[in-house]
């Protein structure tokens, strides 16, 4: 990373020289690209004229390949930000001039673009499209061999493309919504060898040692985003083994021609970068642009004018009818959970014991299990130890040492591993509810009736259906509610929150992630003599959760919290304090979920006060994208009952 933006430091130069030997051979072939081809000015003029007459610069294909978008002034601007991507100086905004300049460069073997190849090779998709449209005469416009491109292309041996979606990862803000990239599925690839395929990944190039400014820069496009072809086994290691994220794989039904166009355009983008915008022009957005290059008649990008959430792109592809087989690749932690669920109590006890003390596998008692049982316990133990030891840090060393003993014992048992169905933790994402939501509600606050409209840009709260989302995780971005109280002349902004997150992870003998919450926004309070007063708040907390199966399946959680409030209702207009919350979540049926919580907060700073809050909410799903909920909110001398019909879209 950051290769292009950083000077070469002396202590790295040895590595630099060394790594360059990879490329030396390839570079030679490009640099010695032969004598200048004879240009044929009259044929060039003819081609430019024919292209103009056929209005090729107005065609969808040309706009897709150059990433032109209609701008505010009715013209076109390319989203591409690297000048080397254009053959004409004004190419970023002038499709016609760019097309003429591109044709001109096709007659030359001058090395262009960042990849330093003849234009026919650097922009191989443009070349083949124009060649097809204008029926180039190879004698008058000799084709370049483009060995470097064809070597690259043939190495993939591509049959089709899969869209890969690692699901969200709550403990990293940038990965909350998941990620998407493409996998180039090779001919003859089997489910057992899929990890050998290459991927096409789009990501921001963050310089090493980036400070806190990264978040700002990442959101607002200060980093260049670039494409790379990382082997899938590395991505699997990153997401499945290290970050413990379930991965979903969507195989696209593409023709050979479409796959070829996609790869040709990918090659062109090796010359390019786009400014990376976290919400808008992000990984998912540009992955869609590659699929548009495969099949320009499909309009995908138009559907995402403001922001692109990875799961929405997957859903859109599924709706476009491009998706064939869908399979999941459960994370290491999901493997451990599911295998443990398949165990009986005694096996589970041995799993815990072997994790603590692998030497116990030599005991008589363990040996008295059937060989199949022993193997299953050892495999699960190894999965757990690999999970804790992944990443190579010193803190993982004891787990890796234990894993050696476990695997050595496992290799003595000549039975195949037990095949059990592994249900992913995050269910098929594109079948979940839509990421945006609008609600129409009504209720009473104390003795005043009201009606309410609420909107949320994204994504999921604790009461929403879990299907396709990380269970018990809440991420709400940009939500607000407008209320009209009975007898009031106008409606008021009742609530607004830019960000509102909660992660609840049950703790047990094997998994010990903390639960936490972070909320920022404004709400409407009744406090003392101040009725319906605006209050700004910041609230954060951390704690733990446990799962219980007393009555069905519930999760109980407790958190210690701090809160700061600002409102004119308070003396000195603020109060700061802390306290705690105890809560419970349960899915009563597939469609019906209940959440209840109680909070006590004491505010010693500012307005000295305390607050006792209750919340009970229930949601009933009517369809995937339609749900009804009733929520009861209690604060001191303030009771609020709200019934809402929610539509997800």
């Amino acid at each position: 990373m950051g290769f292009r933006s950083h000077g070469l430091e002396p202590r790295n130069s040895l590595r630099f020289i060394f790594f360059c030997c990879f490329a030396a051979v390839l570079q030679l072939s490009t640099v010695s690209a032969g004598t200048p081809a004879p240009t044929d000015p009259s044929y060039l003029r003819e081609l430019i004229e024919r292209a103009r007459a056929a209005h090729l610069a107005d065609e969808r294909e040309w706009h897709v390949l150059l990433h032109y978008n209609r701008n505010l002034f009715g013209g076109f601007t390319s989203m591409q930000d690297d000048p080397g991507f254009f053959m004409a100086p004004e190419g970023k905004t002038n499709p016609q001039a760019e097309l003429a300049a591109t044709l001109t460069k096709f007659f030359s073997d001058e090395l262009v673009g960042r990849s330093k190849q003849p234009a026919q090779c650097a922009f191989v998709a443009r070349y083949h499209w124009l060649k097809d449209k204008l029926q180039f005469d190879d004698r008058r416009l000799p084709p370049q061999p483009c060995e470097r491109f064809w070597r690259w292309f043939n190495e993939f041996n591509a049959e089709t493309i899969s869209v890969i979606f690692p699901t969200g990862f709550m403990n990293n803000p940038a990965s909350m919504f998941g990620h998407t990239f493409l996998r180039i599925d090779a001919k003859g690839q089997t489910p057992q060898t899929r990890i050998l395929a290459y991927t096409i990944n789009y990501a921001a190039e963050v310089p090493p040692n980036a400070g806190p400014e990264y978040a700002f820069k990442g959101v607002f496009g200060f980093y260049p985003g670039q494409f790379s072809t990382i082997p899938y086994y590395l991505k699997v290691q990153e997401y499945r083994d290290i970050e413990n994220r379930d991965i979903w794989e969507y195989r696209l039904d593409l023709t050979e021609q479409q796959v070829r166009r996609l790869l040709m355009h990918t090659w062109e983008l090796g010359n390019a970068y786009f400014d990376y915008f976290f919400f808008d022009e992000n990984c998912s957005f540009h992955i869609l642009s590659l699929i548009e290059a495969a099949e320009p008649s499909i309009h995908l990008l138009d559907r995402f004018p403001f922001y692109t959430i990875p799961v929405d792109t997957v859903r859109l592809l599924a709706e476009s009818g491009l998706v064939g087989e869908v399979v999941s690749r459960p994370s290491r932690s999901t493997l451990v959970r599911r295998k443990r669920e398949a165990m009986n109590d005694e096996e589970r006890a041995w799993l815990n014991r072997l994790i603590r003390d692998p030497a116990a596998l030599r005991t008589e008692r363990f040996r008295s299990f059937s060989v199949d049982q022993q193997a299953f316990i050892l495999e699960t133990t190894s999965d757990y130890l690999l999970m804790r030891g992944s990443g190579g840090g010193a803190e993982g060393e004891p787990f890796r040492e234990k894993n050696k003993s476990i695997l050595a014992a496992r290799s003595q048992l000549k039975v195949p591993p037990r095949e059990i169905p592994i249900e992913p933790y995050v269910k098929q994402p594109d079948l979940g509810h839509g990421t945006s939501r609008i609600g129409f509600g009504a209720g009473w606050r104390n003795d005043r009736a009201f009606e309410e409209i609420n909107v949320r840009a994204a994504y999921q709260d604790l009461l929403d259906p879990d299907y396709g989302y990380t269970p018990n995780a809440q991420i709400e971005v940009m939500s607000f509610a407008v209320r009209h109280y009975y007898n009031e002349s106008q409606a008021r902004l009742e609530r607004f929150s830019p960000l509102n997150m909660t992660s609840i992870s049950p703790i047990d003998s094997l998994f010990q992630a903390p639960s936490w919450t972070l909320n920022l926004g404004m709400n409407t309070i009744n406090y003392g003599s101040c009725q319906l007063c605006t209050n700004g708040y910041f609230n954060g907390g951390v704690g733990g959760a446990v799962e219980s199966t007393l009555l069905g399946r519930q999760i109980f959680y407790a958190m210690a919290e701090v809160e700061a409030d600002a409102s004119k209702a308070y003396e000195d207009n603020y109060r700061i304090g802390g306290g705690g919350t105890f809560g419970m979540l349960t899915n009563l049926t597939e469609r019906w979920k209940l959440v209840a919580s109680g909070t006590y907060l004491r505010f010693p700073l500012g307005e000295k006060s305390d607050d006792f809050r209750w919340f009970v909410g229930q949601r009933f799903s009517l369809t995937t994208n339609l749900a009804f909920r009733i929520e009861y909110n209690h604060r001191s001398h303030d009771n609020d009952v709200l019934a809402t019909l929610h539509l997800y879209f």
């Binding site: 430091e9 190495e155 990965s175 030891g389």
Partner: protein, 173 residues
């Protein structure tokens, strides 16, 4: 360990022990330029639970080696156009996936072991015998792999060539 294995293996792999050892001794995370697959060895990524990587990842949405595998990044003068050097595919795969391979060998099958067998050119019908052999001689191969994954690949190749069962199957073919 992954990191150590990678460092060692890639050093042996490409015969540049001096440079690697130097950098490894200082424990220098990847702070500078670099390209080619070797850069992976330097990524401080393995300590994924540290803030640093999360910060890094925050904007990147996971940029595990996007520079490393950049497509046709020609002006750097340092590219393999983002693909793994053909002759080193097996060694690189073994180095990066050593933990998963060890697990697969111990249980006598698995995705990573199948992929390794495919890279080694073992035909599908011979793979079950190959898997059984890796389980049988698990301790030996893993020990080789701990010194360097390329040594493990070599040991596996030698074993395939001499193992009676596999040899027989290939004779029958």
């Amino acid at each position: 360990m992954i990191k150590r294995v990678l460092v060692i293996s890639l050093a042996l792999l490409f015969g540049l022990q001096a440079g690697f050892a130097l950098a490894a001794a200082t424990g220098n995370p990847d702070t500078g330029p670099g390209c080619g697959l070797g850069k992976l060895a330097w990524q401080n990524y393995p300590h994924q639970k540290t803030i640093g990587v999360q910060v890094l990842e925050a904007t990147t949405n996971g940029t595990f080696g996007s520079g490393t595998f950049g497509i046709s990044s020609g002006t750097s003068g340092c590219t393999n156009d983002g693909q793994v050097w053909a002759s080193e595919k097996t060694n690189v795969f073994a180095a990066i996936n050593f933990d998963n391979l060890a697990q697969d060998m111990a249980q006598g099958r698995g995705e990573h072991l199948s992929s390794l067998a495919t890279l080694m050119g073992i035909p599908a019908e011979q793979q079950p015998a190959f898997f059984a052999m890796t389980q049988e001689r698990y301790a030996f191969f893993v020990q080789a792999g701990e010194s360097s994954p390329s040594a493990m690949v070599k040991a596996l190749n030698d074993a395939v060539a001499t193992q009676p069962k596999l040899a027989k199957i290939s004779l029958n073919k």
